[in-house]
Amino acid sequence: MVAENPAPAPRAAADDVLEVACQEFVELVTEHLEGALPEPVDRAVRAHLELCDPCVVYLEQVRSTAAALRTLPLPTLPAAARERLLDVFTALHGDPAEGGTGSS
C-alpha cells in the first residue's frame, strides 16, 4: 500500500492565520529561498514545510538544481591570454620576490 499522503489536512484556522497549500508553495519557493516573502507568508511556508514531506522534497530539488548548475564548467580565458595579463601585471607593478629569493 502506498502511504497515505502526508500532506496536512487544512485546519480550521482562525481568519487571520495564513495557510499555504502545496500548489501555492511551489510558486513561492524561490521567494522563500531568496528571503523575499513578507514575514507572515514566510511563516506559513515554514509551517507547511514542517508538515509536508513532498514539499520538502520539492524544495530540495530546487536547491539541487541550483547547486548542479553551479557545477557546470565556466568559460575561461585562453591560457596564453591569461599568462600575458599576469606578465603585464608584473611588468607594471613589480615582483615582490625580486632580489629576495632569487627564485625564477
Binding site: A7, A68, L69, L72, L74, F89, G94
Partner: protein, 239 residues
C-alpha cells in the same frame, strides 16, 4: 617575505571600499603580488566573459573585452580610490569596455528593448502541472496527489558521482530557456552572482529578477525530474 597575507584575494575583493581587507588587498596588488592578481583573474574571468556577452555578439569579442578590462585594472590600480569594492569597480570597467565595443558592433542589447511585461514568460501560468495537485473539492485541496508528488533524487544531481548525462541534460535545458530566464539563471546559479549584482547588470527590479529565476529554475527542475524518472538508478550506476 611580505607581511602575512590576510584573506584570499577573491574574498577581500568583495569587501566594501575603505575596509581593512580591501586596503590590505590593494596593498598586495600594488606591490605586485602576482598570485593575488592571478586569483582574481581565475575566479572572475568566467563571469566577466558572460557579462560581456550581454553587450557583444561573439565569444572572441567578449574575450577581448575581458582582456582589455584586466589591462585597464592593471593600469588604473594605483589610481583606484577604493570607494566601492574592488569587484564592483572591475565590473564597472568591464561594462564600460563592453558597452563601447557593443555599440561599435551595433549590437542590440536585448535587455534594453526586450524587457516587456509579458515577453518570454515573466508572467504566465503555473510552473508545476496542475494535474499533480488535488482539486479544491478534495479533502486536501491543492495538495499533491499520490501520483504527482515529487520523489527524492538519488544521488542528487550536484554530486560528483552523477553521470555526465544528467549534466548534459541540464546544459541542454538551460540553453533552451527563454533568453531572459536563461540569462538570470546563468548569472545567479551558474556564475554565482548575487541578486543585487544581477539586478544591476541587467537593469531589472529585484521582483522581476526573482520571477525570471523562479520560472527558469522550475523548468530546469522539471527537466531533471524527467531524467530521474526516466532513468531510475542510472545516474548512480557507476560503481
Amino acid at each position: 617575505m611580505q607581511q602575512q597575507p590576510g584573506l584570499p584575494a577573491v574574498v577581500a575583493a568583495v569587501r566594501e571600499g575603505g575596509s581593512d581587507a580591501q586596503a590590505e588587498l590593494l596593498g598586495r596588488l600594488r606591490a605586485g603580488d602576482r598570485q593575488a592578481f592571478a586569483e582574481l583573474v581565475d575566479a572572475w574571468s568566467g563571469v566577466l566573459l558572460r557579462v560581456a556577452l550581454l553587450y557583444v555578439s561573439t565569444r572572441a569579442s567578449a574575450e577581448e573585452v575581458v582582456q582589455d578590462t584586466w589591462l585597464a585594472v592593471i593600469g588604473q590600480l594605483d589610481r583606484f580610490e577604493g570607494r566601492s569594492s574592488l569587484r564592483t569597480w572591475v565590473f564597472r570597467i568591464l561594462e564600460n569596455q563592453a558597452r563601447s565595443r557593443g555599440s561599435r558592433e551595433a549590437r542590440t542589447v536585448p535587455w534594453s528593448t526586450a524587457f516587456l511585461p509579458d515577453g518570454d514568460g515573466a508572467d504566465g501560468g503555473p510552473t508545476v502541472d496542475p494535474a499533480r495537485f488535488r482539486g479544491s473539492e478534495d479533502r486536501w485541496p491543492r495538495h499533491w496527489t499520490d501520483a504527482g508528488l515529487p520523489r527524492p533524487w538519488q544521488p542528487p544531481p550536484e554530486e560528483a558521482v552523477v553521470a555526465g548525462e544528467v549534466r548534459r541534460e541540464l546544459r541542454t535545458a538551460l540553453a533552451e530557456l527563454p533568453e531572459r530566464q536563461r540569462t538570470v539563471v546563468e548569472l545567479r546559479d551558474v556564475l554565482g552572482l548575487t541578486s543585487e549584482e544581477v539586478c544591476e547588470r541587467l537593469g531589472i527590479s529585484a521582483g522581476n529578477q526573482r520571477i525570471l529565476l523562479h520560472r527558469g529554475r522550475a523548468r530546469l527542475r522539471a527537466r531533471l525530474e524527467d531524467v530521474y524518472r526516466g532513468a531510475r538508478g542510472e545516474p548512480d550506476d557507476g560503481g
